[in-house]
């Protein structure tokens, strides 16, 4: 079995830094709980050592936009 995290079809997940986080919440004027959610137990973030309330940045490849960025709050 290979490492699932390194699979090419898995979009890149990363934890958002405090600074980035503030900028994001400022930009969209939202509370963290208003963002889409991701389970703490999700296999894609298992290696990131996340706590509830952290924000995960997901960068997907998109046919139309090239790269599309998504944010999810860990629950």
């Amino acid at each position: 079995m290979g490492d699932a995290i390194k699979h090419g079809l898995l979009p890149k997940h990363s934890k958002v830094s405090q600074k980035e986080r503030d900028a994001l919440l400022e930009q969209f004027q939202v509370r963290p709980q208003d963002l889409p959610k991701i389970l703490k137990t999700d296999a894609a973030i298992a290696h990131l050592d996340c706590a509830e309330g952290d924000i995960i940045k997901i960068v997907r490849e998109s046919k139309t936009a090239g790269e599309s960025v998504f944010y999810r709050t860990v629950i």
Partner: protein, 866 residues
């Protein structure tokens, strides 16, 4: 004059709760004691179900409670006292949870005091943080964790296992708990513990769901109807209530007379049944209560629920005035944004027009003509709101008093604004604004170009027309919903309207025509609606492209693939590649790729450069030009179109024979065990796949043989080539071979044991015994082939019949789930609570309706910039 008293109040919150027996009694105007409705004179009996204290439904009578006459008030509730308590069906499942989670002896929640406080705190916190919905989830989890306990932590009583026997009977260790017992248990639960079950003790005590008295809805809610015979027919609810009152009385009598327990139990159960069906007559475990005519009664739940219920039928969907519905038929000679309205309908639909000094004389004439002459008027509305019908008798008087400030409801006329709609209204183009055009006969006429957005055809389709009645409504309709404003689809960013059918084959032929006499060209252009011919070259004969070019703006440049050049892949070098320079069609064949809806950028670019109004004008003319060219040239499809010459036949037969032979070889290989299995397949599956592959190949080859035949000028061919209708396989199926009939992606293998029909040998795998049709439709099918074709035909018919409602419901669910998503100013998509769904609309933030087929043309955007 006295100033009207206005009390202004703001709704801050709404609480839902249930009525306590006390409250029911307090708000009741009557105690109902007898099932009788009327006395001998036909007046409502006091203490009966139609008691006038509960409101009146007869003209002339007065309500004894409020003194109001018919339709003056909403009526008043009554009540009946039940001889024995009865469960409420709708709370059965809630109560089950509560009974399971509370002690059978002391009614305390099965949880220590400390744990209770912790749990209560947690629930409060959940509600504050993530709303009521999540609190309900938490309550459910809590209850689930409580019911496993075997002993009460407070009084140490052993707990029985409580089950429910649907719909309303509770069992504790297989023994029945009577509603009386249930009620006493519930009564003992302390207020403080109720939030654990998700209840608010101020608005709902659990024992209130075991009914001791029943509220009787006002008479006005269940009016009776008087038939022509003078007989009264009561509402379903009254019937049901009559049953309840009657059984309740018998129960009382039997209890007082000291009847045996069995009889009382039976009556009690019957009372429970009647009360249950009074609330909901669609309980799975109960037979629905019926009329004498065996049609089920419509009780409280059925009044509210589902499609025919109050909400979806009367509140979300209402019947409207100023609307019309009739069959549609095509008329390419009216404009795309017009709708042909029959004169008979125009005399019924009206537009209110305010009388002013300036239109006084004109409106007077409308009134003068009255409702029967067109264009006339049907009603005059006085400034005080009184509405007067114009008849021969009232006409004189109305003309006399008509003055500025009055409203005249005049007949519908050319140019009025109307909304036109075809169900199912799946997207916003299903309802568009058209200008009225009054026409003779009895159908709505629409330009065939708008068939596609409405998904309409003329095999009997009907459509609806609505006439906006106010200036605001008309303005909105005109500027937001007019056909031209809907040209570019918000789904794929191309024109949703385009030429169809004859208009495509017409322009296809026209663009290949080299010499047309000039006078014919002028006639066709004139028929298409062109008035100015100076751009048509002054020659004796003109080419089709020159005629077409007359329709284009003189500064229009365009190049795009035709169907043929798209296949060849060559651009300018292919003579069928469309090039328009300075409004002249230089080369190319016009077909569906450029003229059709949702394909090609010709219409998209016209729209971008010249705006919606000019685009539809050009499109209309292109459409009519195509149609009139066909009229001039002559165009028909006949049996001869399916003729094949000798050579072609020989080639088709050779292909089919070869396939036949190949299949035989495959089968022999398989029988001999020489067939190599494909990866992941059994040998049998491999054989099937290979055979199917072979046969489909043969059909396709036959198709291309047919395609290559002759010069390809039969009219059926032209239709297929231009993309107007049909494709080359359809043609091959008619003239050469129908091909393999497939069910669920496989050859037919149903029917008898190991064979499809009894005329074949068992285990026969040859093409003809597994649904391969070697004949063409023209030659006709042999009986076996016909049977196979009927099989797949029936199958696909069933499939469509089953799929339509299923996908319709799926769509409804999607639409309801997403209806309040909205793109905010920051570009994110959010729901009504402000939660983000997408960070940029569609990942890329592109407004599709401003794009070309979903992408932005950056090059062109830069050009415009400069």
């Amino acid at each position: 004059m006295e100033e009207p008293q206005v009390a202004s109040k703001k709704v801050k919150a709404i609480t839902f709760g249930i009525f306590s027996p006390k409250l029911v009694k307090k708000m009741a105007a009557v105690k109902v004691i007898t099932p009788e409705l009327y006395d001998r004179e036909g007046y409502p009996v006091d203490g009966g179900l139609m008691d006038t204290r509960m409101g009146v439904i007869d003209p002339g009578l007065r309500c004894k409670t409020s003194g109001a006459k018919l339709k003056e008030d909403l009526g008043h509730f009554g009540y009946i006292e039940l001889a024995r308590p009865v469960m409420h069906v709708k709370f059965a499942s809630v109560l089950l949870n509560i009974l399971r989670a509370s002690c059978r002896e002391c009614s305390q929640p099965l949880m220590t005091k400390q744990k209770q406080t912790v749990a209560l705190k947690r629930l409060e916190q959940v509600e504050a943080e993530s709303g009521v919905t999540n609190k309900h989830v938490a309550v459910k989890e809590l209850l689930a964790s409580m019911k496993v306990t075997g002993k009460c932590p407070h009084c140490n009583a052993k707990q029985g296992k409580i089950t429910i026997e649907k719909p309303t009977t509770y069992l504790e260790d297989e023994k029945r708990i009577s509603p009386i017992e249930v009620r006493t248990r519930l009564e003992k639960i302390p207020d403080a513990a109720l939030p654990l079950f998700g209840l608010n003790p101020h608005v709902m005590r659990p024992e209130w769901t075991v009914l001791t008295i029943l509220a009787i809805p006002p008479v006005t809610m269940r009016p009776s109807i008087t038939l022509e015979t003078g007989e009264r027919s009561e509402d379903d609810l009254t019937h049901k209530l009559g049953d309840i009152v009657r059984i309740n009385q018998r129960l009382f009598e039997n209890i007082n007379a000291g009847a045996p327990e069995i009889i009382i139990e039976d009556l009690w159960d019957l009372l429970q049944y009647h009360i249950t069906t009074f609330f909901d007559n669609n309980i799975a475990q109960l037979p629905p209560a019926r009329h004498r005519s065996s049609q089920p009664l419509k009780t409280l739940c059925e009044r509210i629920k589902s499609k025919e219920g109050r909400i979806r039928h009367n509140l979300a969907g209402k019947r409207v005035n100023f609307s019309a519905r009739t069959v549609i038929s095509p008329d390419p000679m009216i404009s795309v944004n017009e709708v042909g309205v029959p004169k008979i309908i125009a005399k019924k639909l009206t537009v209110p027009e305010r009388v002013t000094e300036w239109n006084f004389e004109r409106l007077k004439q409308f009134v003068e003509r009255g409702p029967n002459a067109y264009p006339g008027a049907n009603y005059v509305i006085r400034p005080d709101g009184r509405r007067k019908k114009i008849t021969d008798e009232t006409k004189e008087a109305l003309l006399e008093e008509l003055q500025p400030g009055f409203l005249v409801e005049r007949h519908l006329m050319d140019g009025d604004i109307a909304l036109f709609n075809r169900q199912p209204s799946l997207h916003r183009m299903s309802m568009m604004c058209h200008k009225v055009r009054i026409l003779p006969y009895r159908t709505f006429r629409l330009n065939p170009v708008v068939c596609h957005p409405y998904n309409a055809d003329f095999d009997g389709d009907e459509m609806n027309l609505h006439i906006p009645q106010t200036e605001e409504a008309r303005a909105e309709a005109k500027f937001l919903m007019m056909v031209q404003t809907q040209l570019i689809s918000p789904r794929y960013g191309l024109s949703v309207i385009g030429c169809i059918q004859d208009a495509i084959s017409g322009n296809y032929l026209l663009s290949q025509e080299e010499a047309i006499p000039r006078h014919v060209a002028i006639r066709m252009l004139a028929q298409a609606g062109v008035m100015e011919f100076k751009t048509l070259p002054n020659k004796n004969t003109v080419s089709g492209r020159e005629i077409f070019s007359v329709l284009l703006p003189s500064d229009f440049n365009f190049s795009g693939h035709s169907r043929r050049s798209k296949k060849s892949g060559k651009e300018e070098k292919d003579p069928s590649y469309v090039i328009i320079k300075k409004g002249k069609l230089q080369q190319g064949i016009l077909d569906r790729a450029n003229l059709g809806e949702g394909s090609g950028l010709l219409l998209r670019n016209l729209h971008k450069q010249y705006g919606p109004d000019q685009t539809i004008d050009i499109l209309e003319k292109i459409f009519r030009l195509g149609v009139h060219y066909l009229l001039y040239r002559g165009f028909t499809a006949g049996i001869a179109d399916t003729d094949l010459d000798k050579d072609t036949w020989a080639q088709v037969n050779a292909e089919l024979n070869k396939a036949d032979e190949d299949v035989r070889i495959l089968i022999n290989d398989y029988a001999a065990g020489n067939l190599e299995a494909l990866p992941g397949r059994t040998v049998e599956e491999t054989l099937e796949i290979r055979i199917l592959e072979n046969l489909n190949n043969a059909r396709n080859k036959a198709g291309s043989v047919v395609q290559q035949q002759g010069t390809g000028t039969s009219h059926t061919r032209i239709m297929a080539d231009s993309g107007a209708r049909g494709n080359i396989i359809n043609l091959a199926q008619m003239s050469a071979v129908v091909g393999q009939q497939a069910m669920r992606g496989k050859r037919i293998d149903k029917g008898y044991y190991q064979r499809t029909l009894s005329c074949f040998r068992k285990g026969d795998l040859l093409p003809e015994s597994r649904g391969f049709i070697r004949s063409g439709f023209r030659k006709g099918l042999n009986p076996k082939e016909f049977f196979f074709q009927a099989m797949t035909g029936r199958d696909s018919l069933m499939d469509t019949a089953l799929r339509t409602p299923k996908s319709g419901y799926l769509y409804r669910r999607l639409a309801n789930a997403m209806q309040d998503l909205k793109v905010e100013y920051d570009g994110s998509v959010r729901d009504s609570a402000g939660r983000i769904v997408q960070f940029a609309y569609g990942e890329d933030g592109i407004d599709v309706s401003k794009s070309e087929s979903g992408t932005l043309n950056v090059k062109r955007a830069l050009e415009v910039e400069q």
